[in-house]
């Protein structure tokens, strides 16, 4: 039974995506998209943890479910379902609806699938599927802004994928197995951990790898930004949890970097975010900021393996909390733009205040619970970092509050424009938005059962390391290069990289051509000249006499030489038989 459900969870969205190839089925697919994540949801809620392996797929794949992935799967599926439910409304009358829904479903397949994947190959495949399919969501509007965002997005995705490729490759070889479970148990080298963290951090949007996130989330259509920000971003977190040997081995250098980045991210993203004018961009930066908090948890786990059992549920909880809240905010922001009646607007605003408050960490919300849990869990980790982290977490509440206020303000001033068709009938949007809001509010109650496992442990301090400084310099350099690339434009930048080669090639070509031309000219002239000379001197005739003399001379010389050597002339070949 659970086998069938495992398959169905991945196959349902994929089958629908393939169906869009048939023009006749496209309207139906748009209608049915909402049921695509339901098998996954059912799996998450009903099925027991299990594994299923197919050795013939790719290079041997295993899909399955464990207790951590169940939670991820649950909120991911919920979010996708909600987004899909609104997608039909948002895409009504859009000429690019088919492309959108195809990319949407493919990304959904990837996102659900990667949570189920239990081996490196299928995980990487589905992760890539999700990332690349999302490109279609980002550039959906086909405006300059969307294209710019898309270019940035894809550049980071490619970089992230490459890092993952290398990281997974190294990790599977070090672990001697391609199963993620084995990866988690193995003592991975620093390099492979760096690569894996790098690859996943891109998705997670931790500074300085966040550049793509706010524009992409801002440019994508409302349902897409909801899943981008709510579900897909968590794939980064999930990836780290699924592949890194957290809780077994300490990686202090990485941890330092991660903690530092997390701290920077929380506040820098807020500072930038409050200057944004579009509500969706503000939400995007808020996502970045929130992921900074998650990064703190990860960093602490990397530093102190013993703290990880306490940190893991917190991280998962934070992810779920942020997914639901952010999803509700994005969808709600879209809905807000679609309605014009003042009363309705006020109601929506009020409803959205709930998840916003949760994000800001208001008392009794999931946000507050999460932060408290995190603080508790962090105490198990590094003593050196603890005060800073605690202060940062407290301050982050203020920062997020600011950001949420900014969100409310910008939303009221300039809600994201909704197409006419949506504006005419916003009814289809209500249920998903309110559903997410409700779920977000109810999360703490559902959760209290899980998050109660924090234990303390002592962690020995390590002397400071130059690595963070080097990392900082590298980051700064990368930022400079990136700024330059942005300034001159991507294609021009690539052109400049390629320029020396092109020039060199051109120069060699030109030189070759010149040489060839000269040669041709000379080669044309010489034979003519020689022919004329030969004719005027009757060289052919003279050559006869010359040759006779030459042969005789050479022959005599040889005879003389042989006689001098005292050897009789030798006939090379034996006589023909008589």
């Amino acid at each position: 039974m659970s086998d069938v459900m495992l398959y169905a969870a991945i196959a349902a969205p994929l089958a629908l995506a393939v169906l869009t190839l048939l023009p006749a089925a496209r309207a139906l697919v748009l209608r049915l998209a909402v049921i695509a994540p339901l098998p996954a949801l059912a799996l998450a809620l009903l099925a027991p943890p299990s594994n299923l392996s197919e050795s013939w797929l790719i290079m041997g794949t295993v899909i399955g479910l464990n207790s951590v992935s169940k939670i991820f799967l649950a909120f991911t599926a919920i979010l996708w379902a909600a987004a899909a439910a609104t997608a039909r409304r948002w895409m009504r009358g859009d000429v690019h609806a088919t492309g959108f829904i195809t990319c949407f479903l493919l990304a959904m397949t990837g996102n659900i699938g990667l949570i189920l994947a239990q081996d490196a190959f299928s995980f990487y495949a589905l992760f890539a599927l999700m990332s690349f399919a999302s490109f279609g969501l980002v550039v959906h509007a086909r405006s300059d802004k969307a294209y710019r965002a898309g270019r940035l997005y894809i550049a980071f995705v490619v970089a992230g994928e490459l890092a993952l490729f290398a990281g997974l490759l190294l990790a599977t070889r070090e672990a001697g197995s391609s199963l993620l479970a084995d990866l988690r148990m193995a003592e991975l080298s620093g390099l492979s951990v760096s690569l894996l963290i790098g690859g996943f951090a891109v998705k997670l949007g931790i500074m300085p790898l966040h550049f793509w996130l706010p524009p992409a989330h801002g440019a994508a259509p409302v349902p897409a930004s909801a899943v981008l920000s709510g579900a897909m971003i968590k794939a980064g977190l999930f990836g780290m949890i699924a592949t890194l040997p957290l809780g077994l081995h300490a990686y202090p250098d990485h941890a330092t970097l991660m903690l530092a980045a997390g701290l920077v991210t929380i506040f820098a993203a807020t500072l930038i975010g409050v200057r944004e004018d579009s509500p969706k961009a503000v939400l995007g930066f808020s996502s970045v900021s929130q992921m900074g908090i998650v990064a703190l948890a990860l960093g602490a786990g990397l530093m102190a393996p013993t703290a990880w059992p306490a940190l893991l549920p917190v991280a998962v909880f934070l992810a779920a909390h942020h997914a639901l809240a952010k999803g509700a905010l994005f969808l709600g922001a879209g809905m807000f733009g679609a309605i014009s009646a003042l009363r309705a607007r006020l109601i929506v605003m009020l409803a959205l205040a709930l998840p916003a408050a949760a994000l800001a960490g208001l008392v009794a919300t999931s946000g507050a619970l999460g932060k408290e849990a995190l603080k508790t869990a962090l105490e198990a980790g590094s003593a050196a970092w603890l005060p800073w982290l605690t202060i940062a977490l407290s301050l982050s509440g203020i920062a997020t509050t600011l950001l949420m206020a900014r969100f409310g303000y910008t939303l009221w001033k300039q809600a994201p424009p909704a197409p006419e068709s949506v504006r005419a009938q916003p009814d289809g949007l209500v249920v998903p938005v309110l559903g997410l809001v409700a779920l977000s509010a109810l999360l703490p109650m559902a959760w209290s059962l899980i998050a109660r496992e924090a234990r303390f442990a002592v962690f020995a301090d390590k002397p400071a390391d130059p690595l963070p400084i080097i990392a900082g310099m590298v980051i700064a350099l990368a930022a400079v290069i990136r700024a330059y690339a942005l300034e001159v434009g991507t294609s021009a930048f690539i052109g400049q990289i390629a320029a020396p080669f092109v020039t060199l090639h051109g120069r060699i070509d030109a030189a070759g051509r010149r040489r060839a031309r000269d040669l041709r000219r000379v080669s044309r002239r010489i034979p003519v000249m020689l022919s004329q000379r030969a004719e005027s001197l009757r060289l052919g005739q003279t050559a006869i006499a010359a040759l006779v003399l030459a042969v005789i001379a050479v022959g005599m010389f040889e005879l003389r030489a042989e006689e001098a050597a005292g050897v009789a002339p030798v006939i090379e070949t034996p006589l023909p038989e008589e």
Partner: protein
């Protein structure tokens, strides 16, 4: 191993063509029939001879009772069989091609004269060629090369046009001079040795007078073979003759003197390494100069003729390897190259003739401006080119392979490089007309495939196909060549 058979195929191989020549001269009305019949008979003779030689070893016949030491011995070993086979094969197909070229369809006095004289001349030529391959004494050879020369000059001037006449006269002078140098050498050799047969002369090899004789002979034969720098007469003579005549001149006639030179080199004189180097250097010169001229020339037939100069040069590289450890292999390669060149060059000249016939000109630059593309003839030309370039599986490839192998075994890399250069050159000049065949955007009207097909395309096509696939039986050919160990025992 040697048998002496009284009335036998050996003598008939020489006399049947002679008889045919006389008959076709006397009864011009049925000359083509006589010609074909003669070739068929000659083919039979060669086949029977081959059947005798291949299992039984070399065959010797003393003509009219004049045996060695005085001469008039005819001897057929494997090498001779191959050369005779080449004569009959190439000659047969060229004769078929000539049926069309000289058919009664083409009206006019000129055509009538060509029809009248082609067959007697060609059969006489065949007689001379066969005789040359079978002779074992040098005076007999002198007579044969004179017969060949006279018949060849006749074929050259057959069209009766002024340019052909002039070229023919030039050829005549070169040929006579070559023959006289040869005759002088015969005299000197006899003076020294008192004998004319190969074996008798070989005893005296290395004596100063023999060296003088050898020098004269080498130059005389080089002149007849058109080995650079003594090639000056060849291009015009070969290019201005009619297509079948050119095919015979280029394919068969040159090979006779080359063959004689090879025999002398191996069986009589065995000159030293330096003279070999000299000939090799001449061959290199031929490759370069012939190729350069072929690259420059504006007319298709001249291109083919210049390519002959270059190809002869390549074959002569083998002489540079004489006396080394790779000699055996190199000689085999040289013989294969001779055969390959005969077949391919005959095909190429016939094809060039057909192309000129269909398009009305043979200017290389204008080949692509015509919407008339005699596809089959062009195809035959291309196939022949493949063999001349030496691409597998042609006999040209096999020959080149062995030649280069010989050079490599001898450690003489310079000749490997020369052979490679020759190959590249041949690609360069032979691709000129091919590009003309294959370019379509300059033709005034749409070019259709399968244009200009005629039964007359069959002979060049067959020859070209033989040239291309015969490399697959190279080992058999070499097996035949080795009968009687013409290049000495296998080391």
């Amino acid at each position: 191993m040697t048998e002496i058979v009284s009335l036998d195929w050996l003598a008939l191989t020489v006399f049947v063509p002679l008889l045919g020549a006389v008959l076709s001269f006397l009864v011009p009305r049925i000359a083509p029939q006589i010609g074909l019949m003669t070739l068929a008979l000659a083919g039979l003779c060669v086949t029977m001879l081959a059947l005798q030689v291949i299992p039984g070893g070399p065959v010797i016949v003393a003509l009219g009772g004049w045996g060695a030491p005085l001469g008039l011995d005819l001897r057929a070993d494997g090498l001779a069989i191959i050369m005779l086979g080449m004569n009959v094969l190439v000659g047969g197909f060229v004769s078929l091609g000539a049926l069309d070229t000289f058919s009664a369809r083409h009206a006019g006095e000129e055509s009538a004269r060509m029809r009248r004289y082609f067959w007697p001349l060609w059969l006489l030529l065949l007689c001379g060629l066969n005789g040359a391959y079978l002779s074992t004494d040098i005076f007999n050879l002198y007579v044969m090369i004179e017969v060949i020369a006279l018949a060849a000059i006749g074929l050259t001037v057959l069209t009766g046009r002024l340019d052909a006449m002039r070229a023919g006269l030039e050829y005549m002078f070169a040929s006579m001079l070559g023959a006289l140098l040869f005759l002088m050498a015969v005299g000197l050799a006899y003076l020294q040795a008192g004998r004319l047969d190969f074996a008798g002369l070989a005893v005296h090899a290395g004596e100063p007078a023999m060296m003088l004789a050898f020098a004269l002979m080498l130059v005389g034969l080089a002149l007849k073979t058109a080995l650079f720098p003594l090639h000056f007469w060849l291009p015009n003579a070969h290019a201005s003759a009619s297509a079948p005549a050119s095919a015979l001149l280029s394919g068969l006639v040159l090979k006779a003197s080359l063959y004689i030179l090879l025999r002398f080199w191996v069986e009589i004189f065995g000159p030293g390494e330096r003279i070999g180097m000299l000939v090799g250097a001449m061959g290199t010169g031929a490759i370069i100069w012939g190729s350069v001229q072929a690259l420059r020339t504006q007319r298709l037939k001249l291109l083919v003729a210049w390519s002959t100069v270059a190809q002869i040069g390549l074959i002569c590289v083998a002489f540079a390897l004489a006396g080394t450890i790779g000699a055996q292999t190199a000689w085999q390669g040289a013989v294969l190259l001779m055969v390959a060149h005969a077949v391919a060059k005959a095909a190429m000249f016939l094809a060039a003739g057909r192309i000129a016939q269909e398009t009305g000109h043979d200017r290389i630059a204008d080949l692509d401006r015509s919407h008339l593309r005699p596809t089959l003839a062009q195809f035959a030309f291309a196939l022949a080119a493949i063999s001349l370039i030496g691409l597998p599986p042609s006999a040209g490839f096999a020959g080149k392979w062995l030649l280069m192998e010989g050079a490599m075994r001898a450690g003489a890399w310079i000749w490997v490089v020369v052979a490679m250069a020759g190959t590249l050159f041949s690609v360069a000049y032979l691709s000129r007309p091919l590009i003309g065949f294959l370019r379509f955007d300059r033709a005034p009207d749409p070019v259709g495939e399968h244009h200009g097909w005629a039964i007359a395309d069959a002979p060049p096509l067959m020859l070209a196909v033989i040239a291309v696939i015969s490399g697959l039986v190279a080992v058999q050919i070499i097996g035949v060549i080795s009968i009687g160990a013409p290049f000495g025992a296998v080391p």
